[in-house]
Subunit: 206 residues, 2 copies
């Protein structure tokens, strides 16, 4: 691809910075930068400030490592949440997804990644030791592994299982199966196979 | 749509700022913000600075009103360009598009918009007066109207035509027709109709 000649180095630089963002190509970057250029001075400054301030001032909860404005996040400090259940997730987005279901009332543990030898991420690079410490500290009955069903997610799950084998905590994982609303015809074989193997009793046997 | 509950107000604000950009929804905004949050401090600051610096320091060429780092842009100050031909465009992106074709060697005039009563943009809100002044100053043989084939583009074109009627400058517009590579079957009727009406002699008649 031939790089476009921009009429200004300042424009060139701003476009290059935007194009570094995931999923943003140079054409979209230019569109976004020219949009910002048309906005009022104070709006552009508010945009830039919101990012630097977030980066400079954001904290991570010392308990679950979720993003937070204070030392202890709103979920961990909420006395109405069930502190005996910990849901282990890869990242902050996963916390938001599960919170949006309204089905989980326990606490979280954000690993900040998964074990991935290909990417050079080992067990010590993510928040695994602190998870074991939380469980060892007592008061935890169940640890739910809510990791992605990928090679890396599974590896991380196995590792956590081994690391918690000395405790008598209940270890569970998300149910896998046909998505609600999905047609069987279009469900992939692995998922369909698993959902047959893990079939559910409709009428409990007497 | 239910707004997601973000675990941090700083995060919330940064996501809201990104979501103001055209074509960026809250989900994409969150992905971009979390991506930035994972970058190094200096990279995030470089990102934010590139935007504020662009906004604060960018200039517009006093002749053609294109974006520029100096008083007179690189195109207007280039002695190799043909200053007798002015190509009138709506915005900076159009300059880039035409420059990329490598087919135009004259100068530009960036209107900064088109006449649009619906959006409240009148002739005095765009760089029309300065175009007339440029032509009146002399040395211009041809004005090419390279405006979008929309109601607003056409209105602006007619207005310019009237405003330049006292001069003897040659007024031309972009050729409309079937796109190179397009199949006739899928070309819209208006375009096909125009390209028949404006058909080109293959062998010039003797």
């Amino acid at each position: 691809m031939v790089t476009e000649q921009y009429p200004s180095r300042l424009l060139e630089r701003a476009v290059a910075e935007f194009a570094k963002l995931p999923g943003i190509g140079r054409r979209t970057a230019l569109r976004l930068v020219l949009h910002l250029l048309k906005q009022k001075d104070e709006e552009v400054h508010a945009f830039a400030n919101s990012i630097t301030q977030l980066k400079d001032e954001v904290k991570y909860c010392r308990c679950c490592h979720n993003i937070s404005d204070s030392e202890l996040c709103d979920i961990c400090s909420n006395p109405l949440r069930d502190s005996s259940t910990i849901c282990v997730v890869e990242n902050i987005r996963n916390v938001l997804s599960i919170e949006n279901t309204g089905q989980f009332h326990g606490l979280y543990h954000v690993l900040g990644g998964v074990i991935s030898p290909m990417d050079g991420t080992g067990p010590s690079d993510i928040e695994l030791e602190s998870l074991v410490e939380r469980v060892d500290a007592g008061g935890v009955n169940e640890v739910i592994l809510a990791l992605n069903p990928t090679m890396e997610g599974d590896t991380t799950g196995f590792y956590i299982q081994r690391k918690l084998s000395h405790t008598n905590v209940r270890l569970t994982t998300l149910a896998r199966g046909v998505s609600v609303g999905d047609e069987l015809e279009y469900t992939d074989e692995v998922t369909l196979g698993r959902s047959i193997a893990a079939r559910i009793e409709l009428v409990p046997r007497k």
